[in-house]
Every structure is written in C-alpha cells, then in structure tokens.
C-alpha cells in the first residue's frame, strides 16, 4: 500500500490539496490506520500550535495602551539631569568660557559685547528694555524645555524644539517701526548735502552714502561706499565695502573686501576675506576680525582680537592684541600699547622699530611643534572623552530605550540622516540658533540656544558608534547588554580615528552630520510615535 506523506497530509488539513488528490487521501485514510493516525496527529499539532501562539501570556505594555507607563525611577531622572547639567557645565567651562575670556581680554566682554551684538535702535527705540526681557524669556524657555523633556520623557520633543526657537525669534523680531527709511534701487545714492533724519535701510547692487544719515545704516548690496556721515551704526552685508566717511557708532561688516579709511567712533566687527584699515582709518573702540587677510595700517584705539590667516600690523593699537592665525608681520611703524598674544603656525615677524608695550607672547600651534606631554594629554583626553561618551550612551539606552532604538534605526539609513544633518548644520539649527539669536536677542540667549544644540551634537557619536558596532558584530539582538557592547566597540573606533590628523577631523565631521541627522529624525519619529496611534 502506498502511503501519503506528511506534506500531503498537512496540505489536506490546510485545504490546499487539489480535489482529486484530497478525495484519494480521504479514501486512503479510511483503510490505512497509519495515515489516519498521522492526519489526526497533525491536526492535533495544528490546534496545539494555534493555541500556544494565541494564548494571552503577557500584558500589553502600558506605553501602547496609554500614557501610564511614563514614570521612571526617580534616581534615573536625577542621574539623567545631573549628567545633562555636567555636560552643559563642561561645554561652558571648556568651550564657551575660554572664548568669552578671550573676548574679555580683548575688551569686548560682558555688557560691551552685549551692546556690540545688538542692533540698538536700528528698528525700534525700545530695544534696550526688550533685550532684557527677551534674554530672561529665552533662559526661562530653555529651563522649561529642559524640565519638560525630563518630566514628560520626550513627549513631542520635536514640536517643542521647533516651537521654542520659533517663539523666541518671533519675540525677537521687533515690529519694524515706520521710523526706518527704506530705499531700494539699482544704485541707491544719498547725495552730499542730503540728510536723512532717520535710520536707513538700503538695498540694491550699489549703495553710496555721500550725505548724512542721522541714525543707523543697514545695507544689503554688492558695493557699498560711505563717504558721508552716519551718526549711528553701520551694518553692512556687501561684496565690497568702503567706509571713507565718519561713522559715530559701530561698524558691523560682512563682506568680501572691507576697507576702512574713515573714522569709526566705536567698535568694528568684520567678517571678510580681506580687511584693510588704511593709514587714514581710525577706530575709536576695538576691533574683532575674522578674515583671511588683514592689513591694519590705521589706528585702533582699543583692543584687537582676530582670527586672521595673514596679518600685517603697521599702525596703532591702543589696547591688547590677540590674534590667532597663519602668520603675523609687525612692521617698524606699528605700536601696540597693551599685551600682545599670537597663536599661529610660525613665529611672528616683529620689525626692530616696532613699539610694543611688552614682548609678544607666542604660542605655536603647529602639529610638529607639539611636545610629547601634549600628545599624552591628547590621548588622556581621548580616553576620558571615550568614557564619557560611552556613559552617556548607556544612560541614554537605559533611560530612553525607545528613543535610542528609534534613532539607531534612523542612523541605519545613512543617506537620509546625513542629508538631514547637513541641512540642519548648514541652514537649520546652527544658523537659526547661533546666528539669529546671537545677533537679535543677545549673547546669553544665543549661548542658551547653543546649549540646546550641543547635546545633539554630542549624542551624534553615540548613534553612529552603535551603528558601527552593529555592523561589525552584527545585529542579532537589541538586548541592552549586546547593544552596550556594540556601542563600546563603535565608539572606541571613532575615538581612535579621531586621533588621526586630517582624516580624523573629516571622519568626525561625517559622524556629527550623520548622527545629528539621526537624532533629529529620531525626535521626529518619537513625536509621531507619541501622537499617531492615540486619539488626539
């Protein structure tokens, strides 16, 4: 007798056997006890399997049913908050603090810097009061956001992250009072003899001020020439900027080439490819310069602080000098009345006739000039950095496992998070928070914004590192122990790679963009997770 095999029996039970064959099997089992028994056992097994699989053996997590499962042990939150506070303190202490100190050294610290950064009176005369309110509001906002994140465990964080800066900027943007005079055209000209008793906003390919502006001058142009008199500040976004007249206030110049050959009553802030202060140029206050080249032949009555590729110092500096850059030439005609510091790749050249209040303090930052001690310090720093990142990662994995897994999954897409990270870096948060807040609201608010961005940048390495660890060891499980092991391996590789000159920097740039994108997408996904399934 030919028996039916197990496959045929299974297909019969599942209704998958052709009719003719099914009839044959049925007829066969009437006569064959073995096949009948097999059929019965298989049927029994199917029922047993279905019963075992559908049995309600575990409770559905409260996270899926509602919002009851949001509490976590208080010590975890305390630890998380402490870690965040420690991180913020570290960023302030090692990153922002020294920078502010340098600004203070250069005479631009504290309230001076604040006043420099603000467009006082540009649009509205009530700026002074508003600034204080905005700064307090911004700081309060950051504190509330931090508390909210901790308390509500990242519920809709993306929405909060978007709303808060938007709110701040909305608050920051003053109502453009009708006080400002706006001029547009191919060639905007304020001729000699004309006086504008107001602030002036001028846009066009060419702007020329030969007359008088009794207020601030704000310009967006390819070519700016000021030969007249501005009683307030000059804020210029220009391809070429020439200030040959008199500015009683500050000059803020964002330009390809900036030339100052007139007089600036207060301070100069210049971001330019090249800056020239001609022998006739006179700056009543100090100068901050970020530039490729600077020829400083005129007079700067207070401090000079700059990050400048190549500096030629021929004129007078009334205060301190702090320059970081490629090289510095101090001509015999130069005079520096305060202490001078130069940090660069090579020794500065100081001509014999130059008058310096004290010998120039020099720090050579070239790689080859590093001592063995600094190399050891670098390694120790890398080890501490690795340990801190790993701890932060473990904390994140423990406290926010859902967010961690979601973000890690987003990191796996590679292209998308890289794109998002680059976008965020170039046009998003960085410009938004650092640029707008710093300029419009004030330094404190800008720094507070930066503190929001800093943790995201810091977390970037954790997700890229874990992704890397997963790639090497394979994703076989998402259990905590395995995830930590993979994170440790990935972070180790990243931190070792960081020590490689040039390549390490490039690697970390990619890591930061990639990880930042993943974190932002993770926030977005989490907000969708929180909002989508449950009723509004």
């Amino acid at each position: 007798m030919i028996h039916f095999d197990e496959m045929a029996c299974l297909l019969y039970l599942d209704g998958q056997l052709e009719d003719l064959r099914a009839r044959e099997l049925l007829s066969h089992t009437r006569e064959c006890g073995a096949c009948r028994e097999l059929l019965r056992s298989l049927e029994h097994e199917s029922k047993f399997l279905a019963g075992a699989l559908t049995e309600e053996d575990e409770l559905v997590p409260a996270r899926l049913l509602g919002s009851q499962a949001r509490s976590a042990p208080s010590w975890v939150w305390s630890l998380a908050f402490a870690a965040f506070a420690a991180g913020a303190y570290w960023v302030w202490n090692d990153g922002i603090g020294p920078w502010l100190d340098q600004l203070n050294n250069a005479g631009f610290g504290g309230t001076n810097l604040m006043s420099m950064m603000l467009f006082s009176g540009a649009f509205w005369e009530g700026w002074g009061d508003l600034v204080d309110i905005l700064q307090i509001a911004a700081l309060l906002g950051v504190v509330i956001l931090a508390l909210g994140l901790v308390r509500r465990r990242l519920r809709r964080p993306a929405a909060v992250a978007l709303v808060l800066p938007a709110l701040l900027v909305a608050m920051a943007l003053p109502q453009p009072a009708g006080a400002a005079d706006v001029r547009r055209g191919r060639a905007v000209l304020v001729p000699s003899g004309e006086t504008i008793h107001n602030d002036l906003i001028a846009t066009g390919p060419s702007v020329r001020i030969d007359g008088t502006v009794e207020g601030d001058l704000i310009v967006f142009t390819r070519e700016l020439t000021v030969t007249g008199h501005v009683t307030g500040d000059v804020i210029a976004f220009a391809g070429q900027a020439l200030i040959d007249g008199a500015v009683d206030g500050n000059a803020r110049v964002f330009s390809q080439h900036a030339t100052l050959q007139g007089s600036i009553g207060k301070n100069v802030t210049a971001f330019a490819s090249s800056i020239t202060v001609t022998p006739g140029g006179n700056v009543g206050g100090g100068m901050i310069a970020l530039a490729g080249e600077a020829d400083l032949e005129g007079k700067i009555h207070r401090d000079l602080m700059g990050m400048i590729g190549r500096s030629d110092l021929d004129g007078f500096i009334g205060g301190q000098v702090w320059i970081r850059g490629g090289n510095l030439d101090v001509a015999s005609t130069a005079e520096i009345d305060g202490p001078a510091t130069f940090m660069g790749r090579q020794q500065p050249s100081v001509a014999a006739g130059a008058k310096l209040a004290s010998p120039m303090r020099t720090e050579i930052t070239q790689e080859v000039g590093r001592s063995r001690r600094s190399a050891a310090r670098q390694v120790i720093h890398a080890i501490i950095g690795y340990g801190a990142a790993l701890l932060a990662g473990i904390l994140l994995l423990t406290v926010f496992p859902g967010f961690f897994r979601t973000t890690l999954r987003e990191a796996g897409a590679i292209g998308m998070p890289l794109g998002v990270g680059a976008l965020a870096f170039i046009s998003g948060i960085f410009v938004f928070v650092l640029g707008i807040l710093l300029l419009f609201i004030g330094v404190t608010a800008g720094l507070a914004g930066a503190l929001l961005y800093a943790p995201i940048l810091y977390l970037a390495q954790i997700f890229v590192g874990t992704w890397l660890g997963n790639k090497i060891l394979g994703v076989t499980s998402t259990q905590t122990g395995a995830a930590i092991g993979r994170m440790a391996l990935g972070l180790l590789i990243l931190h070792v790679a960081r020590l490689i000159p040039v390549l390490g920097g490039l690697t970390w740039l990619v890591v930061l963009l990639w990880g930042t994108g993943a974190v932002l997408m993770g926030f977005y996904r989490m907000s969708r997770l929180e909002s989508a399934p449950l009723p509004a």
């Binding site: 496959m7 028994e37 056992s41 029994h44 047993f48 019963g51 699989l53 559905v60 049913l65």
Partner: protein, 196 residues
Amino acid sequence: MSPAEQAGVREQIARAQSGDAEAWGELYRLHAPAIFRFCRRAMPTREDAEDATMDIFIKVRQKLSQYDPGRPFSAWLYTVAANHCWDLLRRRKVRQDLETGEVENMPLAHPDPGQLEQLIEKHTSQEVRRALDHLPTRSRMALVLRYYAEMSYDEIADTLGVRRTFVGVVLLRARHQLRDILGGHGAANAAAGGAA
C-alpha cells in the same frame, strides 16, 4: 462578531478614515493588544515588538484611506503588521539564503504519530513559545502567520516573498524544527538556523 457589531466596526472605520480621532483611538485600543501579541511572536524581543506595534499603527493610520471595507479589518491589519515585521527582520539579514537552501532540500519524512502525540502532551504552550525563539526567522514567521494570524497560503506567500507552492514546505519544515527543539535535538538546529 454579530452583524450589528460588524456594522459598528465598519462605521468606526469609516469615521476614522474621515479623520475622526476618537474613532481612530477606539480602533487602536481594540486592535493594539492583538497586534502587539502578533509582533511579540514574530519579533525576537519585547522591545522590538513594542516598537514594531507603534510603527505598524502609524503605517495603518497613514494607509487607512486605502483600506477596502469589503475585507475584514483585522485581516488587513495583520497583513500590514506581517509585512512590517518581515521587512524589519529581513533588513537584519539573518542568514536568509542559507535557510532557503535548507528548506528546498528538506527530506519528507513520515513521522511516527505516536511520538508526535507524545511530544504535544509532554510540552506546555509556554515551552512552545520559548522554542519559537530558537527557530530560524522564516520558519518562525511562517508559523506565526499561519497559526496566529490565520493567514492563507496566498497571503503567507505574498508576505514572505516565496512561491505559493513553497509555503507548505516552509510550514512543514518549521514544524519539524520546532519538534526537534522541543524534543531536545534543537540546540544544534537552532544554532545552525541562526535564531533571530
């Protein structure tokens, strides 16, 4: 489900499709436990199952307008869930090719029905679920689709991306592997199968 209940569910779905958040919430509360349990059977860890459940409902809400009311809602839901879980598992690349090869060459043995009965009697449902964790991904998924979601062979074939005629082989192979594990011969098989 009575005709009145079915009509109620249909109305609820229609309201959810038109953007009624409350109706959607009801649908979610009604089906989330079953989908979570489905994911719990299909995915390797509880955390994976939780994440998958959330993701599935996001997808379902986005695709709700595509739902055909002529088809049972839970069946459609399981199809979305199955596709999502299988997609996640496949992305983890758990030795898929090796498994397929093994299944293609599977010998069709005629088991002893007595031993089969004994095996069923000796083991609890919990042991079966635990054994499921040691099955290769495709086998595990096939069993879950068939015996939890009660999917047809066509639906299983669509989800797993195999020929319809191959589904029976996959299922039978999965049962063999499960028997081996329950019978104590599963350690080696589980290791070779690359348990997910």
